[in-house]
Symmetry: C2
Subunit: 228 residues, 2 copies
Amino acid sequence: MPAATHIADEELQLHPFFADLAPELLASAKAGCRVVALAPGAPLFAMGDRAERFWLVRRGRIKLFRIAPNGAEKVVEVVGPGQTFAEAVMFMTVRDYPVSAEALTDSEVLGFDAERFLTLLHGSPDTCLRLLGALSMRLRRRMDEIEALSVQNATLRVVTWLLQNLPREGAAVVHLEVPKKVLASQLSLQPETLSRVLHSLGEQQVIEVDGAALRVLDPARLRALTLG
Amino acid sequence: MPAATHIADEELQLHPFFADLAPELLASAKAGCRVVALAPGAPLFAMGDRAERFWLVRRGRIKLFRIAPNGAEKVVEVVGPGQTFAEAVMFMTVRDYPVSAEALTDSEVLGFDAERFLTLLHGSPDTCLRLLGALSMRLRRRMDEIEALSVQNATLRVVTWLLQNLPREGAAVVHLEVPKKVLASQLSLQPETLSRVLHSLGEQQVIEVDGAALRVLDPARLRALTLG
DNA sequence: CGGGGAGTTGAACGCAATCAAATTTAGTGG
DNA sequence: CCACTAAATTTGATTGCGTTCAACTCCCCG
């Protein structure tokens, strides 16, 4: 699919970071924007690269990950349409990407010039506050993850993830948007361990596993498991 | 020691968040400020409490931690003089503290009214940008920690911590500022495990343990361990 | 002296990682 | 539509690291 290089104001304004911008500031942001199309598996940037842009996903899914010195890969996050990533590098003195990014699926992302965006932030305290809100929420999620890694075992991490990804209403089914091994890495588990945990939860009649569809049979019991 | 209730402009301006503020804004921040003295072990707030203030340490050390449902305690961070904490709650819609805080030593902290500070941020984009920088750096550190928990074993976590806390120049000695069990919790280890790791590094002639003083005998070899 | 917390040491256990192999699924070209 | 290959996932067997439980030592402060 060819990249649509034109970017409508309306498309950007759907995102909080651009919603408050005065017309001339929005135009400036657009002027420094670049559209990038990515095939599945294609890299966008690598950890340590000089970070001159932050990104907004237009289509597809992008995997953010780190490679440890020993070669182990840890998936930090998977971002989808409408989500931004790597905004934080704009504000750091060492402006290097702290993660690598590559497409999981056929994707299209918008890259915004960090320097330019930083300049226009001076004229938009509202956008600054939205950014502060976004980073604060992310910080909290990271802290949740650190706690999970520190005190929860494999089953508990999977259960917590299920509960967090359960639709607020409607059928209690979680559809995996990524391969199981990617989910395993996000939860800091080996694929084998995730498989065993899901199997075990299935045996206990708590969930029902059908490929990428995880049906939660008993949400209450699932919640009870987290209060151990 | 009684709390000094007067707060000099100069004291605040040492901190980046206040350095850029126009005089009237600084005065406003001060007006909403409260001084709190804490004895060792005294709680400042608990996770889940309504967060109406963010804090600056004037003296002493404050432990930020979480208690998991199963009762396990995880120390997230220890903050010292000149450092702020819990700023992020200002920008979140659910304004509850995501951690608990208590004094490790005899301490004194300044608590700033979040609502008031949020208002004055509208008039100071520079301060907004400093906050964004601070949160971004913190976000990166959290990501480092997540990677460490995911891919490093106990020894590697201790070694990495040692390297990060080694003075840039001078004697290669790390003085523990907190009890070993607090450090263990920060590294998500049991106290017994930390003890064994330090003992083992001592046996290998990489470090020398003398109470709270950890002398690094061979920084190069320490660094080599991280490249495993 | 004596109590108590912090830290260390020892022994045994258990969870998840690792290694290995089978099996299912997905993707490709005929 | 099917055959074929590669990748994803599952299952089984084994190992090892860090936890857990328990006892002991060392200080510091009363």
